[in-house]
């Protein structure tokens, strides 16, 4: 039954992919003399369609929960509007795909040089042929390895001042919702995409699988930010980062505070927080945002920007101020 549903869904996506490619994308590539990208573009289109479907599914599943069992009651959803724009840009994988293909030639050249000079190459899924190269096994291996890197990447975002100013765009959201995850500074997104794409190439993740990892990661992170009471229970919340666990990371005075301290940095898996002593299971509901945004005397009522553009430019201004 489930297989049938998946097969029908797959068929539908495949048919849409073919129609879009044959009728719109491929004629354009041909006209522009870019047929060298014929195969890669067709394969990438699959994941763009998956990205759009992901937004549809996310909205259909999570938005009713936010309406029915909100974690925080809001008078309106005004502050979430800008996050919708961030989500469309990010969920389509625009940055990740672009950087993967931009970086790939550089890494391919490096790989070629390594072979010519007999330097061994790393390919994690070749560790145990027949087992680790099975699609699901290699997917899980890469997921865990990339998530471990993601934990440290996230800690460094809070540790280094200039980097924090970029990451503050994400934390300045005071209405955490299903749309919040992708609210990030463009520069931060670029650094992040380069970091993870580079790491993925180094450990041997293939392009299709990389986009799949991104898609799964995005969906789980949207769940983490949802404004709904979704108890994961004591077992599941130690397997996957829950909304309560991640909300604690966004809590003013608890989860993060510039470069000073913080907890619950895990991206998809809370394992690294448990391992390195940064996990907090306290699920008390606290206001989210940055202390600086609060009215005096608690904070300086600093604005981190209302719209997409102001949020982006204010971050640069804060960095300049910090570097002076």
């Amino acid at each position: 039954m489930i297989n049938e549903i998946i097969n029908h869904l797959e068929d539908g996506i495949a048919a849409l992919q073919t129609l879009l490619y044959v009728d719109a994308v491929q004629p354009l590539l041909f006209r522009l003399g870019l047929m060298g990208y014929d195969e890669d573009t067709y394969d990438a289109l699959y994941w763009v369609i998956v990205g759009v479907l992901q937004i549809v599914v996310m909205y259909a599943l999570l938005r009713p929960l936010e309406a029915l069992i909100p974690a925080e009651p809001w008078r309106d959803r005004r502050e979430t509007r800008v996050d919708v724009i961030y989500t469309w840009i990010a969920k389509l994988g625009v940055f990740n795909i672009a950087f993967f293909f931009l970086l790939q030639p550089v890494f391919d050249h490096l790989q070629s040089l390594m072979a010519i000079h007999n330097v061994p190459n790393i390919e994690l899924d070749a560790l145990w042929p027949g087992v680790t190269d099975q699609p699901l096994a290699s997917f899980l291996i890469y997921l865990v390895v990339l998530d471990f890197a993601g934990y440290w990447y996230h800690r460094w975002q809070h540790r280094f001042g200039v980097w924090w100013e970029l990451h503050a765009v994400h934390h300045s959201q005071r209405q955490m919702s299903l749309w919040s995850d992708d609210r990030n500074h463009v520069l931060d997104t670029v650094i992040q995409a380069a970091f993870f794409a580079g790491l993925s190439l180094f450990i041997g993740v293939e392009p299709g699988q990389y986009v799949m990892l991104t898609a799964v990661g995005n969906l789980l992170q949207s769940v983490q930010h949802v404004n709904a009471r979704l108890p994961f229970g004591p077992v599941l919340e130690r397997v996957l980062v829950s909304p309560a666990f991640h909300r604690r990371h966004h809590a003013i005075g608890y989860g993060h505070e510039g470069t000073r301290y913080g907890c619950n940095f895990g991206v998809l898996l809370p394992w690294w927080d448990m391992l390195f002593g940064t996990a907090s299971w306290n699920a008390t509901l606290e206001p989210t945002g940055i202390r600086d945004q609060l009215a005096p005397p608690a904070g300086g009522q600093r604005s981190y920007g209302e719209g997409w553009w102001s949020q982006q430019t204010y971050a640069i201004a804060r960095i300049v101020e910090r570097l002076r």
Partner: protein, 340 residues
Amino acid sequence: MTHPLSRFANPSLRRRAQVLLLGALMACSGVAAAATRVIVLDSAEAQLTLIDPTTHKVVDTQPTGKEPHHLMITPDRSSLIVANSVSNSLLFIDPRTGQLQRRMEGVDDPYQLGFSPDHRWFVTAALRLNRVDVYRYDGHTMALAKRIPIGKTPSHLNFSSDGKTVFVTLQDSGELAAIDLATQTIAWRMPVGNAPAGLWMTPGDKYLLVGMTGEDDVAVVDWHKRQVVKRIPTGRGAHNFRSLDDGRHVAASNRVSNTISIIDYVALTKTRDITGLLPGPDDMELTADKRYLWVTFRFARHVGVIDMSNYTLVDTIRVGRSPHGIYFADRAPVLGPNPD
């Protein structure tokens, strides 16, 4: 329910029934070996699909490595080599059943592969890495002779009959290159046009036909003089070839027009187009009786069966994403020196 891709093709149910009936009769009479399979590489899914050649049903899938694109029979016909371009490995499988025999690691980005007609050399084109690697072949093992950095995205290979030269299309450089195998050095490079792909040698090593994927023709190259002497209009996205073993014709797939052109390689003209296909016709294979041409539809997740008696698509079979290479043991011979 109407098939979502039905607007691209209209296989006749009657013909399909004929194929199935023929298959059933062959199976009952023991004409076809029970375990022989059509082997299709699903390049975007790291797997190969095994199809029963008589019933046209998918019977199994097997994991390969990442991005298997092309395959090649060994000179002794004991193994079919599947080249996993992103996993940097070769799989040796049973050419009849598709079952794994052994795996060879450490072959960098083997996108395309081939044995020289004298069986002394094994060559791989590393499309991502802009390189051609030449191996010495002793009938059993491959020993790396040289890695040769070359122009952008080397994609398809072919050889001269004497086994002295391997020709390579450079997709993003728009060139054809020749490598001298004895010295493993680039002998020459020449421009041929936008996105050259498949290569096919006419009898007597007279001309090389080049599928121009960025254009709508097959370039005829007098490689002795290093000149494009003619362009045969075929269809947009001309890509790869399969000899039809009739002493006169070769099929060329057109990946944008979604047609297959039949080329008279003596007169160097197109004689007809096969239309009504699914999107992205790519690699082809011909049955031993020359009746059916199998083709992978790269952009439609299907394989097609074309009845060559009336040039009609008679069946389509759903496989994995981006099906590329295709092979079956009971096939018509390939006209040498073209890759076997």
